[in-house]
Subunit: 318 residues, 4 copies
């Protein structure tokens, strides 16, 4: 049975990424992902991918240590915003209302049990392409850049968390998320959980932080239009000295075609293509993978590189 609050969160809105290599990270996102810089403010720039309908989806901020800053989710309506804010407040994790940045309106701030800073909001400014750069198709936010990996839109955030289940319960209870898939270890512990809020298969993911730390990031992901964008992206990253960690492969879990790289600040960035996979069933039953099933390998049966299970940002004793 569907979570009765499902739909109150519409989708992942924007992410703040902290980087210790600001200039190089900025080059990475604008040149290799072909994102447009829509604003600069203090130590941050605000970035937009060509199919993002909102004004920005990535805030890139210079910081002594790389990692993830605030992650914001857009609600389905003003009423949904009030409902979710009340539900979060009831958990004791609420911080309070504030004004959003760069066209984002009233936002309710909170932290998940792992301490990651989060917000929800409804009001938002839609992206407007500059007058001298209107796209050929009026149903498209920005001009099709056709360069680099040509990132289409922000797709999801994958947190590391000390206690996956506790974080997941919060996402389900306070935000109305539903787990589409999860991994359960032989100990009974859930070691990873994928949450969705709409027909897309996931927007927020938690993976167990094997270092026992809190507040860390596994990766953020951008959707590409096609699998070929990911293959060509690998050529582009090789040519530009970006470390490719893994892929292009297709995950067993969620069947996402992927490539993982480290942006110059060390944050892992995924490029993901779900093909035509959608969660259309209103009564989807969470797919659970056992430890044994995971041991078969996750990418067409092949083993995952070890750093995938250890590297996170900020770095902890790597």
């Amino acid at each position: 049975m569907r979570n009765s609050s499902f739909g109150d969160i519409a989708h992942l809105g924007h992410v703040e990424l902290l980087t210790s290599e600001f200039d190089k990270s900025r080059w990475f996102f604008t040149e290799l992902l072909a994102m447009r810089e829509v604003a600069a403010e203090g130590d941050s720039v605000f970035l937009h991918a060509w199919d993002d309908y909102e004004r920005y989806t990535l805030k890139l901020t210079a910081s002594p240590a790389s990692g993830v800053g605030r992650v914001a989710l857009r609600t389905g309506s003003q009423e949904a915003l009030e409902r979710r804010a009340a539900a979060i407040e009831a958990t004791g994790r609420g911080i309070g209302w504030k004004d959003g940045e760069q066209g984002v309106g009233r936002s309710y701030a909170f932290t998940d049990p792992d301490g990651h800073p989060m917000e929800i909001y409804y009001d938002t400014e839609w992206f407007q392409a500059p007058d001298d750069a209107k796209p050929a198709l009026k149903n498209q936010a920005d001009k099709y850049p056709g360069r680099g990996i040509n990132a289409r839109r922000l797709d999801h955030v994958n947190y590391l968390g000390k206690d996956v289940e506790e974080n997941g319960t919060f996402i389900a209870d306070a935000l109305g998320g539903e787990a589409t898939e999860q991994i359960r270890l032989n100990t009974g512990q859930i070691s990873a959980q994928w949450f969705h809020f709409n027909s897309k298969s996931y927007d927020v993911v938690y993976s167990a932080d094997n270092t026992g730390s809190t507040g860390r990031l596994h990766h953020i992901a951008f959707a590409t239009d096609t699998r070929e964008d990911i293959l060509k992206g690998a050529d582009v990253f090789l040519e530009n000295g970006i470390h490719i960690e893994s892929g292009p492969h297709k995950h067993a879990i969620q069947q996402t075609f992927f490539l993982y790289v480290y942006e110059p600040g060390g944050n892992r960035i995924e490029f993901a293509n779900a093909g035509a996979r959608l969660m259309l069933a209103p009564d989807w039953k969470t797919i659970e993978w056992t430890e044994a099933e995971r041991a078969k390998g996750q990418a067409w049966g092949m083993k995952t590189i070890s750093t995938f299970h250890t590297h996170g940002t900020p770095p902890v004793g790597e």
Copy 2:
């Protein structure tokens, strides 16, 4: 502002296709689309594509004239089913409750203003792969066939309608659909309208029937996993003597990558790939294309073949 009933319909469930060339049409769907036959009953077979989560999505029925039979939409819950049935009944287009076929439960039957037979339902049996043909991935309904055009799932139905606007108003009012895009002629008339019920950009479409007929079909569509499936599909159709009408191209409207063919019964079948495009915005504003904008061509600026604007099933004075 979002339609307050949006979400009551979860998605397009299944379609009945009538064919005057039953044996050849059956070969087309099972051999060239790689659909599985899950049941046969009377003059019909019930078919399933590898990612359809329900037991069947296509009912193929021998008939003197080709065309579209009953189209059924699944609701988001039992309550949503009751709400929509009541709303339809209030329009005077309701027919009444009946039992669904092949695992589909209680269904409410009605017609749209154009006379197309439709139903809504919630209870449904999920597809179970045969014991000797379980897929390698437990998050997938059926084995990956890897042959023909490898159709992934039923995607949408595109009706021809005498009065697009009247039909569209019904879809919006009675079913909670929202128009993501539409064409408005210089006369002010809406000549085509695309409706969605979830994050997918459309499930039901109406195009003006230039013959002035009612109850006809423009096409039904299947989603393929990738654009390359569509390119390879063109090779497969050429090799097997299937008439390719148009494509592979990318529509300006909805940006769908497509191929149109006529199945042996004469019904137009589309193979569609939306890339990573999703309607995530809860406040999406209908994109309206003018007659002049349409005249620029719809596929990368190229002109559409004339039969696309005339051919429908059942045939009327072609």
Copy 3:
């Protein structure tokens, strides 16, 4: 039986393209094809695609009328150059020896029976990437640009000719070319002929000029790495206001996956991908297509747009 001079010509070397819109054409080739400008001289620039091993393959020249200038073929050796020069001289079409441009050595100039200016040469300077732009892979000429249609290398030239057969006989007799495919009309006339000089299926093509003119160009073509480059190229061209004439489709003849556009000067440019097709057989028998076979349509059975049979450069009564 193989033409005994086959192999004396190694491949198409470079092409001069005349354009009445020099600045716009230059933008087209450098920005949308991602070619590198290696030199400028008088009214011309010299351009290089990332996998061209020679210093340049396209000379773009400002001119009152668009069309094709000199086309040069590289021989397999110095001895082969002497042999072919002698053979051409014997036909009476020889013009004489001259020095090549931009690193190309001693060249023998001549015209084909249609009057197109041509040359053969052996000595050539290999492309050297600038010191600050060395490719990541040492087996690649230049950095992988990853933008626009990402043209990989010059592929072929397709001339219009008043008398296809006469031109073809010259290519076979004087240059050792072999026709891999051809079209023969019901009248017995050959209306198009594809010639190759190595395992690639064609480097030089003649199509009948329906205007009865001489010296005109149907198109020049660039190879892309993949079919997806061509699909993405269509998006790029649409976004940048370039007229797409036809495609992306797969030709029946030669099975080339193609897209035809007009560069700003009006010259037709093809982007071509042959997949893994190669002419490996030393005793390949010319494939002949009849008028009836052609009438079935050339792109997956679909009809070709009429301009494809009329538009050429320089324009003649279009």
Copy 4:
């Protein structure tokens, strides 16, 4: 300077593969590669991929131990066959003339220095599609199967060899092959060498056998039409329980996009797509990779799985 005998060998003709799991291997090649069985004889079947122009390219033979049997190369002419036979005979490695199988004419048998059985021939029967299965395109050998990995043609053989340089010298001197790329260790030893005979970048490869054995196989490869065939092939192999060893990735050396699997008999099979890469230069200079360059990783900088450097057939102390 080009090897003066280059061109005497036209291309790799056919390979005999020995398998200890004959029935399963036969299923692998006919069902998953979509090859056609053209003949059966004794313990062998003869197989054809849809673009192979000759009658067969793979002879599959039941055998106690898996591995590679006879590999045959087709010459460019009868005269070339005589020249090469004489050159081989002069090395003392000739065995003598015999009749080929299944339409292959007079063949000269020999062994390479490592002891692998080889042959050269010119006369050959072209593949004829059965009357009830003629392809839609007359320039194609067989119907386009559109299933499984849809192997287009036999591409190359990669031997393991005790002494790469000795074997390579033989290929160059006796057969006129040219090394397009090679790896040289810090010791000065060549550890792998890629030989070509036409515009394709390689047909025969030697890699050092780290077990010190002789006569073993690293892999044989089939060309697929597109990179997407390889991605879909990975899905097909996963679904059918075939061990995927590595890929889909793009090799640094030769830039081949690849997937390696073990067929049921344990022989490694590669699926390879070279994109539009061709060796057109008549004076190509062998690209040499140092040990340090190799250590950077071969697939977009990623490390190769260890079995790639140890597994061969017949197996030796794995």
